[in-house]
C-alpha cells in the first residue's frame, strides 16, 4: 500500500508526514511523529486515553484517520508546555495528585484544556460532564476535578501577577537555596 503525504500543524509547528493511509491519527502521532505522550487503551474510542485537540476540539485520535487531518491543527500533551512553562492544568494536576500512574493523564489534560478554553470557570457538574469520556482507574476522579478547579484559580492568579507560574516557583526555590 502506498504511503500518503500530509501537511498539518502539530503543537503549533507545521509538519509534513508520510504514512500508510489506514493509519489512525493516534498511530501517526505515536509512530510517525514520535509523539508518544498520547496513549491508547481500548482501540474503540471508549477509554479517552488517546484524546487530542483537533482544531481546538477534543477528539479520540484512535477514531480519527490520519488522512482526515490535512491542513488541520492538532494539540497533544507535548504542546501544553509553552515557553518552558507548564500549563496551569499541568501544574495543578501535578500538585494535587490528579496523576497517579499517569497513563490517562494526557487525555484528561487536553480534554480539560478544551473545557477551560470554552468556559473560564466551569462548575463541578460541567467538569464531570466534559471529562466523562476519559476513564481513570487510579484516582477516583475527585483529585482530577479539584485540579481542574484549582487551575481556574491559578490561571486567574497568574494573569493578575503577569508572571509565569513555574518561573515564580523555581525563582523562589533558588533564592531560598542561595540564602541557606
Amino acid at each position: 500500500m502506498q504511503n500518503i503525504h500530509l501537511a498539518l500543524k502539530v503543537n503549533g509547528e507545521p509538519v509534513e508526514v508520510a504514512f500508510a493511509p489506514y493509519k489512525t491519527l493516534l498511530e501517526v502521532l505515536r509512530e510517525d511523529l514520535n509523539l508518544c505522550g498520547t496513549k491508547h487503551g481500548c482501540e474503540l474510542g471508549e477509554c479517552g486515553a488517546c484524546a487530542v485537540l483537533l482544531d481546538g476540539q477534543p477528539v479520540l485520535s484512535c477514531l480519527v484517520l490520519g488522512v482526515e487531518c490535512e491542513g488541520r491543527e492538532v494539540l497533544t500533551v507535548e504542546g501544553l508546555v509553552t515557553d518552558g512553562r507548564l500549563h496551569p492544568l499541568q501544574e495543578t494536576f501535578a500538585d494535587l495528585g490528579a496523576a497517579q500512574c499517569g497513563y490517562c493523564t494526557p487525555g484528561f489534560l487536553v480534554t480539560a484544556k478544551a473545557l477551560l478554553d470554552e468556559h473560564a470557570s466551569p462548575t463541578r457538574d460541567q467538569i464531570r460532564e466534559a471529562l466523562a469520556g476519559c476513564l481513570c482507574r487510579c484516582t477516583g476522579y475527585q483529585q482530577i476535578f479539584e485540579a481542574v478547579e484549582a487551575a481556574v484559580e491559578r490561571s486567574a492568579e497568574a494573569f493578575a501577577l503577569r508572571q509565569p507560574l513555574d518561573h515564580a516557583r523555581s525563582a523562589k526555590a533558588l533564592a531560598e537555596r542561595e540564602t541557606r
Binding site: 495528585g97 464531570r128 476535578f145
Partner: protein, 814 residues
C-alpha cells in the same frame, strides 16, 4: 518533620503531566521487530498439530515460535509451575497463547497469524466450579489436590462446634462474589533485546520484575545474571501485572534468537485473557453470637473459581479465610477453602487479593446480626473490634488498631445516628469495616533474605541517588523512597534521584503487591539513610568539633542544634565524609518479623502490621426501575502515618472508586457460543465498551478521614493504603441498599435487575433477598487442628491431626 506528612507534589509528577513518562509501549528501538500471539479459539482441547510453514513464508515475517520452543514451565508460585509460554499439547481457555509471529511491523505479524494451521481435538469444557467438582476427569492439569481441584484446605482453631452450642444465636448465610478484572488503562507491553555484550534485557510493564527475572531464567534455561529486567512505570497495575506472562517469555526468546529488539503490546481483548483478576467466590458463613453481639465462633467455607492456571491461586484460597479474625475478636475459627480449575482465563490477585470476597459476606452477615439483636451496626462493630498487640485465633500478630477510631470518625462525619434507618424509603446508609496487610510476611519463594533493599550513592554535589527494586505502578513508590531518604538526610526531594525496578541496577525488592512497598522499602530506605547520615555526622563532627549527637540534618544543612549558625551545607558534609571515608554510599534492608504461625498454611496472612478502614455508603434506589445511585461515601482509614497526604488520599479515593465499580457494575462473565459456532465457552465481553467501569458521572463524592496513629513497625509509623480502603465499600453498599428498600442483595455486582428480583420476592412473601441459596458439597480435607493461643497453643498444629502430605512446611506457601 520537613517532608514526611506534608502534602506534596510527587517526585514523578512532572514527567506524568508532560507526557514524558516512558511506558513500555513508548519504547522504540532501532531495528525493532513486532510480535503478535495466536491464541486458542477453543476453551479446552488437545493440540494435534501446529503447522507454521505458511506463516513463516510470508514476506516480512522473521520468526514463528510454538510451544516446542518453550519446553520448560513457569508460574508465579513454586507450587504452581503450570504455564508454558506457548501451549505445548493442550489449550485450557479461549485466549491461551499457541504460537507467536515476529515480523517487521504489527500488521504483518497480525496478518500472518491467519496462516498458522492448528488442529485441535476438543476436550470436555468446565464452565463453573460445580462442574469441575462433579467431573474429576478429564483433568485440566495433571497436578493439584485431586481431579480438577487445585487446592482444598481446612484449618480449625479451637472448638468451633462447642462455640456454636454456647452461642445465644447462630447465623448461617450464603454469598456470591462475581469475578471482575483490573482493567488498567495501559495494556501490558514488553520489549526485549540483546544488550551490546549479548545479554538479555527485558523492559516490561510488570509489578514484579524480580519474579519475572527468576521466571525468565527458568523458562529460557539461562543464567539469571545474564538477564536484566527493567520494570517500566506501569500504567496501572492493581495486581494484574504481578505474574510472569507468556508475552514476556516470547519476546525474550525471539530477541535472543534474532538478535534484534522485539516488542509486543497486547490488545485490550488480550488483556482480558491475561486476567489474573478477582476470583468468583461462593461462600458460606456460620457465626455464633451472644445477645450482646460478642462472637463465640465462626465457620467460613469458600469455593473459588480459579480459571485455567494456578497463578497466585493457592495464596488466594488461603486469603479468603485469613483476615476475618484481624478486625473482630473471634475466639474460635474454622476455615475451609477450595479452588478448582475451570476453562476460563486464570484468576489471581486483584486489589485486596482474596479478601474482598469474604469481607463482603462477613460484613453483610454482621449487619444482619446487628438487626436481629437490635444493636446499631456501628455500635456492634465497636463492641467486637479486636484488641491491639494481640495474637488472633489463627496466629496473626496484630499491631496498632485504629478501627474503633475509624468507626467513630465515619459515623460522626456521616451523621450516622440521625440517618441510619431514618431516611425516607428508597434512600439508605450502610456501614462496613475491614483490614488489610501492610505487606505479606513471607516471600513467594522460601528464603531468609530481606524483602526489600535500598542503596544510596551520595555525590559531592549534594545530590543523592536512591536505588531500589521497587516498582512504580502509579501508587507513588518512588515518592515514598525519596521522601524517606530526604527526611532522614534533611535534604529536599528534588535533590534525590530515584532509580527503581531494574534488576541490574537496583537491590531486590520483591515487587508491588500485597501492599508491601511503603512499609518494607520505607524501612530499608530509612536504614540506608541513617547509615549514610552516620558517616556524614562523623566527618562534620570532626570538622566543627561538635559532638555527633548535637548535629541536626535539616534544610540542606548539617548544623549544631545548640548553635544553628555553626554548620556546613549538605554538599560540604558529603565532601568531608568522602575525604574521611572514601566514596560514600550505604545500604539498608528490611525483613519482616517472624510469624507466630507454625502450621501448614500459616504462611498466608502474617504481616508486620495491618491497616484498618471503615466506610459508610449512602444510596438512592428507585424501587420501580431498580436503579442505584451512590451520591456519597464516607471513609476513614487507619494509615498509621501518612507520608504524603496527597497521595494517601488518592489511594483511598481510588480504592473507593474501584470498589464502587465492583459493587455496582464490573463483572467478568462468560457465555457459550451457539452449537453451530463450536459451542465454546467464551468471554462475554472482552472489551472496554461492554465491560462497564465507573466514569466521572458515576463517581460518588468521597469524604476521606485519615486516622493517624503511628505504628512502630512502619516507616515513620506508616501502614498501607493501596488496598485496604477498597474492602469495606462493597458490603457497605449492600447494607445501604437494605436500609433503603429492605431487601438483601447477597452478591456483587448489585444490579438493577437483582434489586427488582429481590423486591419481587419480597412482594411474593418470599425471603426478601437476591443471592445464592445453596452451597455445594465440597470435599474439604480433614481439618488441621491448631489450638488457639488462649488454649495454650504454640502456633503448631495438634500432632494427632497433622496432615501427612509430603514435602510441606509452614511458610512454604505465601
Amino acid at each position: 518533620m520537613n517532608v514526611i506528612g506534608k502534602p506534596r507534589r510527587r517526585v514523578d509528577a512532572r514527567a506524568k503531566v508532560t507526557g514524558q513518562t516512558r511506558f513500555a509501549d513508548d519504547l522504540m528501538l532501532p531495528r525493532m521487530l513486532h510480535c503478535k500471539l495466536l491464541r486458542s479459539t477453543l476453551p479446552h482441547a488437545r493440540i494435534v498439530k501446529v503447522d507454521v510453514s505458511r506463516a513463516a513464508a510470508r514476506p516480512g515475517v522473521h520468526l514463528v515460535l510454538t510451544g516446542r520452543d518453550f519446553p520448560i514451565t513457569y508460574g508465579i508460585l513454586p507450587v504452581s509451575q503450570d504455564e508454558h509460554a506457548l501451549a505445548v499439547d493442550r489449550v485450557r481457555f479461549v485466549g491461551d497463547p499457541v504460537a507467536a509471529v515476529i515480523a517487521r511491523d504489527e500488521l504483518t505479524a497480525f496478518e500472518a497469524l491467519d496462516f498458522i494451521d492448528v488442529e485441535y481435538e476438543p476436550l470436555r469444557t468446565y464452565a463453573d466450579p460445580e462442574d469441575s467438582l462433579a467431573h474429576p476427569e478429564p483433568r485440566i492439569h495433571e497436578y493439584g489436590d485431586s481431579g480438577n481441584i487445585h487446592k482444598a484446605v481446612s484449618l480449625r482453631f479451637g472448638d468451633v462446634e462447642q462455640a456454636f452450642a454456647d452461642a445465644d444465636r447462630v447465623f448461617e448465610d450464603t454469598f456470591f462474589y462475581q469475578g471482575n478484572t483490573h482493567l488498567p488503562i495501559e495494556q501490558h507491553a514488553a520489549v526485549a533485546a540483546r544488550d551490546p555484550d549479548g545479554k538479555l534485557v527485558l523492559w516490561s510493564s510488570t509489578q514484579t520484575p524480580h519474579y519475572v527475572h527468576r521466571a525468565l531464567a527458568k523458562a529460557l534455561a539461562m543464567p539469571a545474571a545474564h538477564i536484566r529486567v527493567i520494570a517500566t512505570p506501569n500504567g496501572g497495575g492493581f495486581g494484574g501485572k504481578s505474574d510472569p506472562f507468556n508475552h514476556e517469555m516470547v519476546v525474550a526468546k525471539a530477541a535472543l534468537i534474532l538478535d534484534r529488539p522485539v516488542k509486543i503490546c497486547l490488545t485490550r481483548e488480550e488483556v482480558f485473557y491475561c486476567h489474573r483478576g478477582r476470583h468468583p467466590v461462593l461462600m458460606r458463613f456460620k457465626t455464633g453470637v451472644k445477645m450482646d453481639g460478642t462472637i463465640t465462633g465462626m465457620h467460613v467455607q469458600t469455593l473459588l473459581d480459579g480459571g485455567a492456571y494456578g497463578s497466585y491461586g493457592v495464596a488466594s484460597t488461603f486469603y479468603t479465610g485469613a483476615l476475618q479474625t484481624v478486625t473482630y475478636h473471634i475466639p474460635t475459627y474454622h476455615f475451609e477453602g477450595c479452588r478448582v480449575f475451570t476453562n476460563k482465563p486464570p484468576c489471581g490477585p486483584k486489589r485486596g487479593h482474596g479478601t474482598p470476597q469474604s469481607r463482603f459476606g462477613q460484613e453483610i452477615q454482621l449487619d444482619r446480626i446487628a438487626e436481629s439483636l437490635a444493636i446499631d451496626p456501628a455500635e456492634l462493630r465497636l463492641r467486637i473490634v479486636e484488641q491491639p498487640d494481640t495474637l488472633t485465633a489463627n496466629y496473626l500478630r496484630v499491631g496498632t488498631i485504629g478501627l474503633a477510631e475509624c468507626v467513630r470518625r465515619v459515623t460522626k462525619a456521616a451523621d450516622w445516628a440521625n440517618v441510619f434507618g431514618k431516611l425516607p424509603h428508597g434512600r439508605g446508609v450502610g456501614i462496613a469495616c475491614s483490614s488489610y496487610l501492610s505487606g505479606a510476611g513471607l516471600p513467594i519463594y522460601y528464603n531468609d533474605m530481606p524483602h526489600s533493599g535500598v542503596q544510596l550513592k551520595l555525590d559531592r554535589s549534594g545530590g543523592v541517588t536512591a536505588f531500589c527494586g521497587a516498582t512504580e505502578i502509579g501508587q507513588g513508590s518512588d515518592d515514598v523512597l525519596v521522601a524517606c531518604v530526604a527526611e532522614v538526610l534533611g535534604i529536599a526531594p528534588i535533590d534525590i534521584r530515584a532509580v527503581t525496578g531494574d534488576t541490574d541496577l537496583t537491590p531486590v525488592d520483591l515487587g508491588s503487591y500485597s501492599s508491601r512497598v511503603t512499609l518494607m522499602m520505607g524501612n530499608a530506605a530509612i536504614q540506608a539513610a541513617e547509615r549514610a547520615r552516620d558517616l556524614l555526622a562523623a566527618a562534620v563532627s570532626k570538622k566543627l568539633s561538635v559532638d555527633k549527637d548535637r548535629l541536626v540534618f535539616a534544610d540542606n544543612r548539617v548544623f549544631d542544634t545548640e548553635r544553628p549558625d555553626t554548620g556546613v551545607t549538605f554538599a560540604e558534609a558529603v565532601c568531608l565524609a568522602e575525604a574521611m571515608f572514601g566514596t560514600i554510599g550505604s545500604t539498608g534492608s528490611y525483613t519482616p518479623p517472624r510469624s507466630a504461625a507454625r502450621f501448614k498454611g500459616g504462611g498466608v496472612g502474617p504481616s508486620p502490621t495491618y491497616s484498618y478502614s471503615a466506610a459508610i455508603v449512602e444510596v438512592e434506589v428507585d424501587p420501580s426501575s431498580g436503579w442505584i445511585h451512590v451520591p456519597r461515601v464516607w471513609i476513614a482509614h487507619d494509615i498509621g502515618r501518612s507520608l504524603n497526604p496527597t497521595l494517601v488520599r488518592g489511594q483511598v479515593e481510588g480504592s473507593v472508586y474501584m470498589a464502587i465499580g465492583e459493587a455496582l457494575m464490573e463483572e467478568q462473565t462468560f457465555r457459550r457460543l451457539p452449537p453451530r459456532l463450536s459451542h465454546a465457552l467464551v468471554h462475554k465481553f472482552p472489551s472496554m465498551l461492554e465491560y462497564k467501569s465507573p466514569t466521572t458521572l458515576d463517581m460518588p463524592e468521597v469524604v476521606t478521614e485519615l486516622v493517624e496513629n503511628p505504628d512502630p513497625r512502619g516507616p515513620f509509623g506508616a501502614k498501607e493504603v493501596g488496598q485496604g480502603p477498597l474492602l469495606p465499600v462493597m458490603p457497605a453498599v449492600a447494607n445501604a441498599v437494605y436500609d433503603a428498600i429492605g431487601v438483601r442483595i447477597d452478591e456483587v455486582p448489585i444490579t438493577p435487575e437483582k434489586i427488582l428480583r429481590a423486591l419481587d420476592a419480597k412482594a411474593a412473601g418470599k425471603a426478601p433477598r437476591y443471592g445464592p441459596t445453596r452451597f455445594p458439597a465440597v470435599p474439604y480435607p480433614e481439618p488441621l487442628d491448631v489450638p488457639t493461643p488462649w488454649d495454650g497453643g504454640d502456633g503448631k498444629a495438634h500432632p494427632r491431626t497433622v496432615n501427612p502430605e509430603p514435602g510441606t512446611r509452614a511458610g512454604a506457601v505465601r
